[in-house]
């Protein structure tokens, strides 16, 4: 299963808190891999996001975010490939 979720600026403490909650409850079923995508965000995406979400100027924000996403596309692909590679390696180790 693949999910996408928004954490605003609180991704680090929230993910850590959830991981610890699962550990405390001795949850073994289903391992979750958390991938931080904030590292590939560029200035265009930030400005576009603020215009669109905070200021409600979707006609300015959306094209800017789309443009920023196009520029960051290769980095996003690389991040996904890296995650897939890590998962494969983990599976091989587990077998």
């Amino acid at each position: 299963m693949v999910f996408s979720v928004g954490f605003e600026t609180a991704s680090t403490p929230v993910i850590k808190a959830v991981k610890n909650l699962f550990a405390l409850g001795k949850v073994e079923r289903g391992k979750v891999t958390y991938v931080e995508t904030r590292e590939v965000i560029n200035t265009l995406m930030v400005i576009g996001g603020i215009c669109s979400r905070k200021l409600g100027l979707t006609f300015v924000g959306r094209p800017l975010v789309s443009w920023g996403t196009q520029l960051a596309y290769k980095q996003i692909v690389a991040l996904v490939e890296e995650t897939e590679w890590k998962l494969k390696k983990r599976e091989q180790k587990g077998q």
Partner: protein, 145 residues
Amino acid sequence: MIFYYHCYRGAHLSCVAAALHLNRLQPSANVEEILSLEYFDVLQNPDMGVPVLAGYCHGNPVCFVGVGSGSKIFPRFADCLTKKMQVDLHYKSVDCLQCINLLTRIGGFISRFKGFKELGRNLAARGIHKNLDKIYALVLHAKGS
């Protein structure tokens, strides 16, 4: 059932709530008693997300944790994840940030800086003392549900 009290840094509100839950602090406690709590104003920003096991209440672990600005996001995410993964996890997350007041906010901010720690701690404790009834009501609600 795991009781998970959370606030911004996990240093003041949630720490006091956990102490109230475990009867280590009475709802009639004074400022000095709040200040003498073991974990009061101890957790710092790098500790966010790391829960502290305050103790056990009828065999149920009682923890407090700082989740930064994610106090609304954390319970929503944890609930969704347990549902989607069909995980059998019984927990109660309690957002203590709803009991914050101006004094606690200012005290909590000031206590992070060297030289102002004592002043910040005192202000935060006074703010919490003012809202202790509210925090206790929150704890009772969590215990009851």
